[in-house]
């Protein structure tokens, strides 16, 4: 048996080996090291398995994503390739690795884009909108806190949050359109300093 043949059957290996595989492992240092490494990783993975076992939904989602990306294909057998009970225990460590790879792949794909690179002006509005949306939810929580503690101050905080958010949006846009502009960076720092101040004042525990 050659190394190539052994690696081909490696994913299907269970807890035991055929005589032919055993003989190859005895004679081939590289393949026996590989099996030893896989066993060690598998043992460590099993220690985590009990408490950190994700739900079947997670496994299915990963499988679906991998298939959609063309990284895996429909198995010849009927069972789900990644579903834990049907997956060889030696290969289960590959799942988080594959998931991590998928995330990295997704991020790279997102960053590179498929079409021509957008201009800075085209890029900045979504970023600003996204940031503004995220902040809006935080801001609402903050206003609710202020409203509960100091009802008379809620309007003042709301007006000032809007002012600061407008500053942040403009500063972000400015910084995106010219990342090397020192002054644009200064605007951005100042805008965020103001936002931090508003939050600090609203949440200051020294005030009753």
């Amino acid at each position: 048996m050659t190394c190539e043949e052994f690696e081909r059957v490696l994913p299907e290996l269970g807890s035991g080996h055929s005589i032919e595989q055993e003989e190859h492992l005895k004679s081939c240092r590289a393949c026996s090291d590989l099996v030893a490494d896989l066993n060690a990783i598998s043992r460590q993975g099993r220690l985590l398995q009990g408490s950190e076992e994700p739900s079947p939904w997670v496994w299915n989602s990963i499988e679906t994503s991998l298939r959609q990306e063309g990284l895996i294909h429909q198995p010849l057998q009927e069972h789900s390739l990644l579903h834990p009970p049907r997956l060889s225990w030696r290969l289960r460590w590959l799942v988080p690795a594959a998931a991590a790879l998928l995330i990295v792949f997704g991020v790279l794909l997102h960053e590179r884009g498929t079409g021509p690179a957008p201009t800075a002006e085209q890029q900045s509005p979504p970023a600003s909108v996204q940031t503004a949306e995220v902040m809006a939810s935080d801001d609402m929580q903050l206003l609710n806190t202020v409203g509960a503690r100091m009802p008379s101050m809620r309007d003042a905080y709301e007006a000032n949050l809007r002012t600061v958010n407008a500053y942040i949006r403009d500063a972000e846009q400015s910084a995106h359109s010219d990342p090397n502009d020192e002054v644009a960076q200064q605007y951005l720092r100042n805008a965020y300093e103001q936002k931090a101040m508003v939050y600090e004042m609203a949440l200051d525990r020294s005030l009753p």
């Binding site: 000032n160 407008a166 500053y167 403009d170 400015s174 605007y187 100042n190 103001q194 004042m201 200051d204």
Partner: protein, 285 residues
């Protein structure tokens, strides 16, 4: 005639009674603390004014006037540190929770004041001054050789005769006025409030006045010694000084940016606004 006198007498009596009733609803509390050199004094007051002035000797005298029984005064003194806190009770609001503070401290004391509504007033000290008030009007005058840090949401801030200080003001929408203010570091960061500086920018200081949409006006005498950079992304800039050109990291375009030096350029001045107008004015002699 006698009837008129009787009516007048009764009116005076009624006024006195009403005044007495009103006075009866306020409670005056006085606190005295002995402190050493460079004491630290902190007053936290949710609603109402705080005024701090220098007093005689090494002692802190606090006079508090409360307008209802829904607020108490908590006080602590640990070592050289004095803390006074208005403690709001159940159901207190801006009226019933109001406390007026008048505080006398040694002139070298460091003072930290918090009040949501203010106003906050500090004068004639030479320790650090840290003031924070959401809507509070802030007034600081005749302070030197200390850090002056002020934060407000929409409360206007006025500094007068502040020298040799490290000044840092952050206000979202309150106007900021600096009159005869100089120091090693003077920074104002505002969103929509106007910033007005009227002074000579001292010697060897770093000044930065930055706003988002608020206008910035800086007035200096013809003998000012500054290296100035002014830029507004969307607003206009104006300059009354004859500037010696100098290299900058951005293109100085007429109407939206300028940079240069005046005199020996002892102090650095940055005037930056996103959409506000900027005007560097020469003071009329």
């Amino acid at each position: 005639m006698q009837q008129k006198q009787r009516i007048a007498t009764w009116s005076v009596v009624m006024i006195l009674v009403v005044a007495a009733l009103a006075a009866a609803q306020t409670t005056r509390k006085e606190m005295h603390f002995k402190v050493g050199r460079r004491a630290s004094v902190s007053i936290v007051n949710q609603y109402g004014p705080i005024s701090v002035k220098p007093g005689p000797g090494k002692r802190v005298a606090v006079t508090a006037i409360m307008y209802s029984s829904k607020v108490e005064i908590d006080q602590t003194k640990r070592g050289n540190r004095v803390s006074v806190l208005s403690h709001l009770l159940e159901g207190a609001d801006a009226d019933s929770g109001r406390v007026d503070y008048e505080v006398l401290v040694p002139a070298d004391a460091s003072v930290t004041l918090h009040s949501t509504t203010g106003p906050l007033h500090v004068e004639k000290l030479h320790g650090d001054v840290i003031l924070e008030g959401s809507t509070a009007v802030v007034d600081v005058r005749d302070v030197n050789a200390g850090h002056v840090h002020i934060k407000t949401l929409n409360g206007p801030v006025t500094l007068t005769n502040v020298s040799d200080g490290y000044v840092e003001i952050t206000s979202v929408s309150g106007d900021v006025a600096l009159n005869a203010v100089n120091g090693a570091q003077v920074h104002v960061n505002s969103s929509s409030g106007k910033i007005r500086y009227d002074g000579d920018f001292g010697q060897a200081g770093q000044y930065s006045l930055t706003s988002h949409s608020g206008d910035i006006e800086a007035i200096a005498p013809s003998y000012a010694s500054i290296e100035v950079v002014a830029r507004s992304v969307q607003g206009k800039v104006e300059n009354d000084f004859p500037l010696q050109p100098e290299h900058t990291s951005f293109v100085a375009r007429a109407g939206s940016a300028f940079a240069g030096t005046v005199g020996q350029a002892a102090s650095s001045v940055k005037l930056l606004s996103f959409s506000g107008k900027i005007h560097l004015k020469k003071r009329e002699q």
